[in-house]
Amino acid sequence: MWQIFHKLGSPKWFFGISTRFMPWLLVGGVLLLLAGAIWGLAFAPKDYLQGNSYRIIFIHVPAAFLAQSIYIMMASAAIVTLVWRMKLADMFVKAVAPVGLVLTFLALFTGAVWGKPTWGTWWIWDARLTSMLILLFLYGGVIALDRAITDDKSAARAVAVLVLVGVVNIPIIKYSVEWWNTLHQPATFKLTEKPSMPAEMWVPLLLSVLGLYLVFGWLACIRMQTEILSREQRTRWVKELVMKGKS
């Protein structure tokens, strides 16, 4: 077990293994996303109340789901960074923060587009919307702090502290729906409960979520590889790799 632990800490080992499974992540993710999207957009039944406008759910929910889940993954990696000083963990945080930011923005944007026909407004200061906005700010803060500190090691540890402090917000974000007096629109869909929608709707949704997870995995790998190459550029294996690529 400890051997795996040590291997996980080695950027070189990760570079090799990730190169091998990255194509699978990409192909699997794109296939699942395509299946989910085509099924959801073209074949899933129309909603009796919202008509076709509900179909944006096949983008909105996966993006929102990933946005929160990425933050939790970042927090786990931050613990690893602080406790074991594992290089890969801090590279992961650095690599995925912009992905999380983009997905949070996508969730907010598609939510606004969806909100216009169904709620009659682009934006309301509803607990769920506001909490996603806070998440967007948190991602922004993480990226800003990382860019502001020039030394890689200090940046990684400072960012890890910030990410962990931000985790306090996650339960608050989750329960703000109940705590905050507002004209709250109840959640349309929850994965934890038996979905209130027919299988023809939620199966493609699940496919899209899984597909996006795989694509995210691919993105995380390629961004981490870039980070590894830039940080380890003075080591021999990176030099050899680059020379091989040239010839």
Binding site: I134, G141, L145, A148, S154, R157, A158, V165, G166
Partner: protein, 241 residues
């Protein structure tokens, strides 16, 4: 300017109890602050001016102000605490006292707790004391003002404690001020929501006990966890330089 040494610095041993060290840090920070009185006044003046902007900029109507007043005061208080955070470690960092503090044998988080407490006494508490006057100026009724003061009394220490983490993280960075705001405001939002929510409930005549208890729980959480995070952040920032 700032050369008041930490009382524990000369002793450099663990013979000084942690509590005595905390008292020493607290007393020293208060003394240094009162030697630069303008720095104490600035956040308060800022607080008053921000509150003034709303009636002039949005609407001086009594109906608007009595409804939005609590929120305005909370936002203004939040911003003035944010503004004052830069001072929390900056001077000590510049003249090297902070490094001495980190080198003390007493646990760093306790010393940071003492520093944060001093910071709150110098910025948060005066804001709370000013609130009744400004509350009358924005046409809040007596009950709302009392509840508002209470929420600020519980809320401003939370702001100082969370702020200490941000101040420690951004220590010694370029454009630290803006960065500090970017990092800290998302963490302040829940405190703001509950602070203003409590006052809104009080204005409607609803019982506020549960709200206040929740804010108290926030304070306990911040009091117990924030100094650890701030201490970790401080060590990172100092090893950076």
């Amino acid at each position: 300017m700032n050369a008041e040494a930490y009382p524990t610095a000369g002793l450099a041993s663990s013979s000084v109890s942690a509590l005595a060290a905390m008292k020493g840090v607290f007393a020293r920070d208060m003394k240094v602050a009162f030697r630069q009185k303008q720095d104490l006044l600035n956040p308060l003046l800022f607080f008053i001016m921000v509150v003034t902007l709303f009636p002039l900029g949005v609407s001086p109507e009594v109906s608007f102000l009595s409804e939005a007043g609590a929120g305005i005061l909370w936002v203004a208080a939040l911003l003035s605490v944010l503004l004052s955070l830069d001072h929390l470690f900056r001077h000590d960092f510049d003249d090297g006292t902070l490094e001495q503090l980190v080198l003390q044998p007493q646990p760093l988080f306790l010393l940071i707790l003492a520093k944060t407490l001093a910071h709150w006494m110098l910025t948060g508490l005066p804001l709370v004391l000013l609130t009744p006057i400004l509350g009358v100026m924005v046409h809040l009724d007596g009950n709302s003002i009392a509840v508002l003061c209470l929420t600020l009394l519980i809320g401003t220490p939370i702001l100082s404690l969370i702020g200490a983490i941000g101040a420690a993280l951004t220590l010694g960075l370029r454009s630290a001020g803006v960065l500090l705001s970017l990092l800290i405001i998302p963490l302040y939002i829940p405190v703001l929501i509950f602070g203003t929510g409590t006052v809104a409930a009080a204005t409607e005549g609803a019982p506020v006990g549960a709200y206040l208890a929740l804010m108290g729980a926030f304070l306990m959480l911040a009091l117990t966890l924030a100094p650890f995070a701030a201490a970790a952040a401080l060590r990172i920032s100092l090893s950076n330089g």
